[in-house]
């Protein structure tokens, strides 16, 4: 038997705020979550700005903060996002013997969770302390003497990408299937998609799904800057993320966490949980092309879109809105546009598609679920979030990107697209619950 999958709770910690309402208000009022880097001295890096979560206090979301205070930034954020989502869904995270009617062995976790930062002091300084010029490499005896005293067991543990889920398990009491995946920028869309499959096929009643990530640390910024994937518009951070614009020059590195509670319709009805939307389709594919580039004909992205439409039993005429991956890199935005045109044919020009990354940046592993939440809000509010900073359209990119201001439109069915470095493509389709 197949179960219908509904969303009964949402939570987010992102550069536009620490709740779904704050995030949505930010999107509706043209706010930008992007500014100069305050987490470390990036003043000489090619990119000196980012999209940070600011003034975050985990104690505002959970009473017992002790198990989470050593968590990496991603773990700290995901605890806040999961707490919000659980409260909205009526999942009891306060008492030892929860009386919310959910069997904890039927409640699982699926996160697209990023790794934590290395211990920068230990990492960089130990290499300096042990460098032997004549040999042109570190001396491992000197290295270990320096590193082993600087590294701490807690910070080493918290780098593991399995750790955010461990924090969520302890917070929520979940005892069902627990998985985490890390498929670069597609991770949390893939996590929510696979979690929805677990529910549809009866492997769980409730899944806490989403993602968290922060790569705003020296090695993260270094990696993306070397790839020349980031915008370097240092004189104007707030306009740097400009998906689909002719003058786009890269994405803006963000951070955060986003969680949705997925549930069988039966379970949601039994508990009188609020039903925010229904997940009706999931499509996943691999480019199998190059580790460095997307396939030039958007082969994988098109296949993921078609698989999702097929899974949902829909045609291209049924889609009201597409939340794009829309990173503001030259390659993604043009190939994604090609993918939409190929998958939707002439109908592509009639479907509005926008990118909230223009305002909250690219949350890497967490971004897919954050954007899925914007799709749910679009359905609930019948308003499309805009693509900001789209003042000089790229003549090659001629779809309706909802430029610069939100737009009223009845949205019954929305698509969320995420594409990861290396070619993982994931697409989720959600529908107004009726």
């Amino acid at each position: 038997m197949k179960h219908r999958v509904v969303i009964t709770g949402m939570g987010i910690i992102c550069p536009l705020g620490h709740s779904v309402d704050q995030m949505w208000q930010g999107l509706m009022t043209g706010k930008s979550g992007i500014d100069y880097n305050t987490l470390f001295d990036a003043s000489t890096f090619p990119t000196q700005f980012d999209a940070e979560v600011r003034d975050y206090e985990i104690s505002r979301f959970v009473k017992n903060v002790q198990p989470h205070t050593n968590g990496n930034r991603g773990s700290q954020f995901v605890v806040g996002a999961a707490a919000q989502a659980c409260r909205q869904a009526g999942i009891d995270i306060e008492s030892d013997q929860p009386a919310d009617g959910i069997d904890r062995r039927r409640m699982g976790i699926y996160l697209g969770a990023g790794e934590g930062s290395v211990n920068n002091e230990a990492f960089f300084q130990s290499l300096i302390d042990s460098w032997i010029e004549e040999k042109q490499q570190p001396d491992w005896t000197l290295w270990v003497k320096s590193a082993a005293v600087k590294m701490t067991p807690t910070q080493e543990l918290e780098q593991e990408p399995s750790m955010p889920a461990a924090h969520v398990a302890l917070l929520t009491g979940a005892r069902g299937i627990s998985r985490s995946c890390l498929t670069a920028c597609a991770a949390s869309t893939q996590a929510v998609g696979e979690a929805s499959m677990l529910i549809r096929h009866g492997k769980a009643d409730v899944m806490i799904a989403g993602g968290c990530h922060s790569m705003i640390h020296p090695l993260g910024l270094t990696g993306f800057n070397r790839l020349t994937a980031l915008s370097t518009r240092n004189d104007s951070p707030q306009t740097a993320s400009r998906p689909f614009s002719a003058t786009r020059d890269g994405f803006v590195l963000g951070e955060g966490a986003a969680i949705v509670i997925l549930e069988t319709l039966e379970s949601a009805n039994k508990r009188n949980a609020p039903i925010l939307a229904e997940i009706i389709g999931f499509g996943s594919s691999s480019d199998a092309f190059r580790v460095t580039d997307m396939h030039e004909d958007a082969r994988g992205a098109v296949q993921a879109l078609r698989r999702a439409l097929d899974d949902a039993g829909l045609t291209v005429n049924d889609i009201d809105y597409i939340s794009t991956h829309g990173t503001s890199t030259s390659e993604n935005d043009s190939i994604e546009t090609k993918a939409i045109k190929t998958a939707f044919g002439p109908q592509a020009y009639k479907i509005p598609c926008s990118s909230p990354k223009s305002q909250f940046g690219h949350l890497i592993g967490a971004t897919g679920c954050a954007e899925l939440i914007t799709c749910v809000m679009a359905i609930r509010e019948n308003i499309l979030p805009p693509t900001m900073n789209l003042n000089d359209p790229d003549p090659e990119l001629d779809l309706d990107y909802v430029p610069n201001k939100p737009r009223k439109k009845t949205v019954n069915i929305a698509i969320n697209e995420s594409f990861g470095f290396g070619g993982q493509n994931n697409v989720i389709i959600i529908k107004r619950y009726t």
């Binding site: 290395v118 889920a165 069902g176 270094t222 990696g223 790839l227 691999s286 199998a288 296949q303 993982q424």
Partner: protein, 437 residues
């Protein structure tokens, strides 16, 4: 009728050799793959031993068209690519990698689900850039931003993203179905195999590559583990006796590097092409341990019990039907105790009857790869009706009532359970069944 999943190919690179066959022979003979660390000078490290894979040239494992891309492979990626090459070959399928032949692997109907770890970067390469950024003996981040980082190769980051393990494999073999990277530490392999099976059952693919690859033999990796008090630092002069799962004198685990890949196929598809089927996957389950000390399992091993119970339930068998268990068995005393209690609870009255065969005393702990190595051992044990013995098990640790194999088995095996857990607490179990003609 529900689609059924069979294993039609295996591949492994491990401390016991560069093929699954060498690993299997080593396990049967009780040969130990652990020894002094050679990858770097570990003489000043608290733990100086590990399980290393003997040197190989990755260019021998990729088609000509992918040779240039080997420059972008960290060790973890190389291991995964090598193991996957053997697995595809072993299954009798022909992929795009076999240049000049007509592929039988259908790109859009093939998925990949692979476990990967936290990949540590090449410190020698990194040090050459970092040394340019010193002011008064200290790291100077402004110099790094201005000059140091510019000396790193532009594609540096791509060597260290966990999803690059399946990405390279997917490119080499032309796999265009769903591709996922499971990052649940030491439970990754089992969870990746579980998901691949689900993908085939729900009809999104007929064939899947599933497995895991990781190296823990890296200066940071080794120090990290002994700081967390998981590595045995007291047996540096006797590697063969260092890893002692469930033994009263266990003092920690020994880390290693490996990758394993399984070819999973929908049973009818496999039959139709006349594939040789090693075993059927009939049940899998998972849960999460709750312990604020995230480095260890909860003392009563409850999540291990839950994972095994879920797998048994899906398999539709009672615990007494199991002929063999391959546990995680790391040699870390408190984790072994918790795992033993967890398994014992799940087995109920059968706890003392079912043979238990840990493999880490020979293979070491290869993190995201470990579970696949054990699944391969389980599949080959079913195929051959044989096992090795529990090496370094002299007397049981407190509270361990498991029936550890003091002598190898030599009899038909119908059902084999494999289980594992991560630090962080993901627990997982998978049950294999013999193929009946």
């Amino acid at each position: 009728m529900q689609r059924r999943i069979v294993i039609t190919g295996v591949g492994a690179v491990s401390p016991l050799g560069l093929t699954s066959d060498q690993m299997w022979q080593g396990l049967l003979e009780g040969r130990c793959g652990l020894g002094p660390i050679r990858n770097f000078d570990a003489s000043a490290f608290d733990c100086k031993i590990a399980g290393e894979v003997s040197p190989f040239n990755i260019r021998d494992y990729v088609p000509k068209s992918h040779r240039k891309a080997t420059k972008l492979m960290s060790r973890d990626i190389e291991l995964a690519v090598a193991a996957s090459q053997e697995a595809v070959k072993n299954s009798g399928l022909i992929s795009k990698a076999d240049e000049g032949k007509t592929p039988t692997l259908i790109p859009q109907r093939t998925a990949i689900s692979y476990g990967a770890g936290l990949i540590a970067c090449d410190l020698i390469e990194m040090a050459q850039s970092v040394k340019l950024c010193v002011t008064d003996g200290k790291f100077d981040i402004r110099k790094w931003g201005r000059e140091g980082m510019q000396t790193l190769t532009p594609l540096w980051l791509l060597k260290y993203l966990p999803n690059m393990l399946p990405c390279h494999v997917a490119i080499i073999h032309d796999i265009q179905g769903p591709s996922n990277t499971i990052t649940c530490g030491d439970a990754s392999s089992y969870l990746a195999v579980s998901e691949a099976a689900e993908i085939i059952i729900r009809g999104d693919a007929e064939t899947a590559l599933a497995g895991g690859g990781e190296t823990r033999v890296h200066p940071i990796g080794i120090v990290r583990q002994y700081l967390m008090k998981r590595a045995n630092c007291s047996s540096n002069d006797n590697p063969a006796a260092a890893c002692r799962p469930f033994d009263a004198n266990a003092a920690g685990t020994i880390f290693s590097e490996a990758a394993g890949t399984l070819i999973l196929e929908e049973m009818q598809t496999a039959r139709n092409r006349g594939a040789s089927m090693l075993a059927e996957i009939i049940g899998w389950g998972a849960s999460h341990s709750h312990n604020p000390d995230y480095t260890h399992l909860e003392p009563d091993g409850k999540a291990v019990t839950y994972a095994i119970e879920a797998a048994l339930q899906q398999a539709g068998i009672t615990p007494d039907k199991l002929d063999l268990i391959i546990p995680c068995g790391t040699g870390i005393p408190c984790d072994d105790r918790a795992e033993a209690i967890g398994i014992q609870t799940a087995l109920r009255a059968s706890e003392s009857a079912i043979p238990v065969w840990p493999t880490k005393s020979l293979l070491g702990h290869s993190g995201a790869a470990a579970g696949t190595l054990d699944l391969i051992a389980a599949a080959l044990a079913i195929r051959d009706g044989k096992t090795g013995k529990a090496v370094n098990f002299d007397s049981p640790a407190a509270q361990c009532k498991l029936n550890l194999l003091r002598q190898p088995l030599n009899k038909p095996l119908h059902h084999v359970l494999c289980c594992g857990y991560s630090f962080g607490g993901q627990c997982s179990a998978v049950i294999l069944k013999a193929i009946k003609d």
